[in-house]
Amino acid sequence: MTVAKEMRVVKDVTCPFCGVTCDDLEVHVEDGKIRDVKNACVLGKDTFLHHLEGLATPRIDGKPASIEACIEAAADILARAKYPLIYGLDSTELHAHRKAIELADLIGANIDHTSSVCHAPSLQAVQTVGIPSCTVGEVKNRADLVIFWGANPAEAHPRHATRYSVTVKGMFTPQGRKDRTVIHIDVRRTPTSRMADTFIQIKPHSDYEVFSTLTALVNGHDLDVSEVGGVPLQEWRDLVEVMKGAKFGILYWGMGLTMTRGKYLNVVALLRLCQELNRFTKFLGAPLRGHGNVVGMAQVLTWQTGFPFAVNMSRGYPRFNPGEFSVADLLGRGEVDAALIIAADAIGNFPAKAAQHLKSIPLIAVDPKESETTKVAQVVIPAAQAAVAAEGVAYRMDHIPLPLKKVVDSPYPSDREILDRIIARVLAKRPDDGAKRAAPLPRG
């Protein structure tokens, strides 16, 4: 006799892989295994189809151990540490973010996440001048000019163009692609150039200069030079006319601006340009963000501590200082004496010096899969993968939160549960004598 197979289709599934955060996936599950994924791009599909490959196993000092023992060992390390670091958190969800910050508050840790090494300069630029921006649906419904600058969404955010920004039809863009002018500006051609009507190739490291030039032109100044950034001035003059003539323009930027010379100053110059253009038309800007749910971590950290990344709790209250409390700097200077890396591969992605320091201190890795970090960690705790085997909330690149579903079961606990259990064990070890001072009230 054959037993009927369990078959189900889960609809409206949110993809956790990139900041496009598509929420229209259909996942086909057969006998508890994911068989097929509809509507996703290749990257999204792989996330679901290969979620069982390379799974991590619970262990302490390389030897197999129970989850409970691992949690105990992790709590031991963290309770003893004087200047610990909690880092990662891009491939997980809101409730785990909450718990990670609670743990940092409890043990006086530094807490930072992947933004710190990708779009932190964008966040700093926004703190400097603000940002005129919108949710992606506004681009879908209205944008007649879309500029991608130092970004390659065709490869990094595959469905951005079809869902939000290029071919999609919206309320006032009924003809989709035909209603939009698309421009790609970068130091080299990429597949994104092929989506564009125009590609402008600029010299490396000239972005700041080009933004300043464009802003000057927008403000009615002309320049006494023949070219800027390797491009004839006349082309920039023409671009300014296109920008001013658009009904609704948006400039998307990527890591080509944040991780090259000038860093946050590039983005400041870009944002000033967008702000100035509002004297003539609607003109907005937005970073193309998101490996996983980095945006979400920045959100939760901001509401719980006031700051979006690089937060230090060692004085009992949150302090923010990129350069001092940002992960690359803390590790580069060899300051932290223990680390919990969760839902990200730190060692696989960090510069050698930072990775070297991580290897030299008690290291805890919480991750569904094996990584360079789990390979060397003293304690490895496997987790159920958020958005596949654990539910929660993730944020899209424009700060819109979307629910994550638990599509299949995992033998392992979720990030949230692991952190919760670590917190309970740390509390048990460190009778809470935390900061004694009360929150002072300011005098009116």
Binding site: D105, G434, A439
Partner: protein
């Protein structure tokens, strides 16, 4: 019973029951106020202390995508107030845009136990609720932004009021909203192409409807649904000289209907520009005094740092242009906009000083305290931490005249403030900060101390200096538990999220699914927020006349 408390010998101010400083014992059992404690009860000796219901803030901005963006935008602001972790409590920062836990603690220290987030975009309401979940100590709710919703504008264009009603009900039900908020109706839609509306009868681009139609339709919907709170309106032309006329017109357009006008100070300006800027508080108060259907919160300005956060995108752009301060803008698909600009109110700046005076005139000229409520439109007019300072200004005419000598001198000749000798009594303060807003919100268990009320109680040490008195509550009870002692939070409690219990309407789904597909970027199935996402909640019944 372990959860029983007897508060002995305090002077009780409970305006709903006409108690004006009556010395009386209060009994609390199982989180409620009761006639008499059964059996043993913990005793709070309140001799010489003043007892009020817990404070109710009808209009504040403490949790929303825009509020969080403001936190992220202003690291420089957070250093002004650092709140270290304590056992059982979380750390955080102030000042104008405090982190979530700190927000709850600071409100509680002032004696507030219920606060209403006044603006959340529907698509961002999942975020708003998650933030509210992290604001302890207080009960809370949120108003959904509706005044520029493109589906509503489309239905309005085709004259389908019934559809609007069903759609609004679906939104409230799906998103666990407490009320309806209109911000610059029509104007924020215009802003999506960089424009604004000037008056109530200007047509909104592409939709062929006017602000007046939007106001009237949604006010009708609000009453048809029998929501506990009236429609909550941030009128057109906020902050703009001469805007009092559009404010008056807005109220006239809704004559006879329950209506709450938000932060009315920002809408009571005369003059043609900021040089000829004048107060029209008198004209506004005259209208309000004659129209019992209207309630207002003031949006009092306090001097010092503020962060302006509003869905009124075009106004924020204007403020950015005026101040050159940093400017954040986020237009939200289908629904609304939002903007943030840091701002500092200065005593010696004529416009700021006049704004300060207009707020006080509004408090002092509106005769019925049941219809004017304390707010700073936190943090737009300044942080809620200054409520005690405002109370002192209202209760102490001498303090007011001292302040008048400090501020820009044209205020003396350009407002009625120097001639207003009225001083609020404690009883009246209890109305404008407790009983009044609770009644306007339709929260029957809040804002009073009668049997059956939630045991949300604030106890103060009476002092001549009313700022000192209200700055630190001697005790605060939340749901019958002592959570504040001597102005310090001693125990955290989660507080409940309050929402209006509107029946769902799944018949509309097919039509909405199509609209979502065309105009939104999220699946309709991912839009509603399940009740499980609000671990502590309370539904407030609708449909009954309040």
């Amino acid at each position: 019973m372990a959860s029983a408390i007897r508060i002995k010998g305090g002077r009780v101010y409970d305006p709903l029951h006409g108690l004006n400083g009556v010395v009386k014992d209060l009994c609390v059992e199982d989180g409620k106020i009761v006639q008499e404690c059964h059996g043993a009860a913990e005793v709070i000796d309140a001799t010489n202390l003043v007892i009020l219901p817990g404070g109710v803030d009808i209009h504040t901005h403490i949790a929303s995508p825009a509020v969080n963006a403001a936190r992220g935008l202003r690291p420089e602001d957070h250093r002004l107030l650092c709140c270290p972790r304590k056992p059982g409590l979380r750390s955080g920062v102030g000042f104008t845009v405090p982190s979530t836990f700190t927000t709850g603690y600071l409100y509680a220290q002032l004696g507030y136990t219920t606060v209403m987030e006044a603006a959340t975009p529907p698509i961002g309401t999942r975020h708003t609720h998650e933030e509210l979940n992290d604001i302890p100590m207080v009960d809370k709710g949120c108003y959904l932004l509706m005044g520029n919703n493109e589906f509503i504008l489309q239905y309005l264009k085709s004259g389908d009021l019934e559809k609007i009603k069903r759609y609004v009900a679906w939104l409230l039900h799906s998103l666990k909203g407490f009320g309806l908020k209109l911000v610059n109706p029509g104007g924020v839609e215009q802003w999506k192409y960089g424009k604004d509306v000037e008056g109530l009868d200007e047509k909104v681009n592409h939709f062929d409807v006017t602000p007046r139609q939007i106001l009237q339709a949604l006010t009708w919907v609000n009453e048809e649904l029998g929501l506990p709170h009236s429609i909550h309106i941030h009128a057109n032309r906020l902050g703009v000289p001469g805007n009092y006329q559009v404010t008056l017109e807005t109220m006239r357009a809704l004559e006879g209907k329950r209506v709450h006008m938000a932060h009315v100070q920002f809408h009571s300006y005369g003059g043609e520009d900021y040089v000829s800027f004048t107060s029209k508080a008198k004209e506004m108060a005259d209208y309000i005094n004659g129209h019992p259907n209207v309630t207002v919160d003031v949006g009092q300005v306090v001097f010092g740092d503020a962060t302006t956060i509003t869905a009124d995108g075009p106004w924020q752009y204007r403020l950015h242009k005026l101040t050159k301060n940093k400017w954040y803008n986020l237009d939200v698909e289908v629904e609304t906009g939002s903007g943030i600009v840091p701002y500092t109110y200065r005593e010696k700046n004529y416009v700021n000083a006049l704004q300060w005076a207009i707020g006080l005139e509004t408090f002092l000229l509106i005769k019925d305290p049941w219809r004017v409520f304390l707010s700073t439109d936190h943090p737009n007019g300044g942080p809620f931490l200054y409520y005690p300072w405002i109370i002192k200004l209202l209760m102490d005419a001498e303090f007011r005249s001292q302040m008048l000598k400090r501020v820009h001198k044209r205020v003396l000749s350009h407002t009625m403030l120097p001639h207003l000798s009225r001083e609020y009594s404690l009883y009246e303060i209890a109305i404008i900060t407790r009983a009044g807003p609770a009644r306007a919100l339709g929260l029957r268990n809040k804002g009073h101390l009668g049997p059956g009320a939630d045991a949300d109680i604030a106890i103060y040490v009476d002092a001549k200096d009313k700022e000192e008195m209200f700055e630190r509550a001697a005790y605060v009870l939340k749901d019958g538990k002592i959570v504040v002692r001597d102005g310090e939070v001693v125990e955290s409690c989660p507080g409940r999220t309050i929402f209006a219990e509107v029946p769902g309407d799944d018949d509309l789904l097919t039509e909405l699914r199509d609209k979502f597909e065309k105009y939104y970027t999220v699946e309709i199935g991912n839009f509603p927020i399940p009740l499980e996402d609000l671990p502590f909640h309370q539904a407030v019944p609708t449909g009954r006349p309040v």
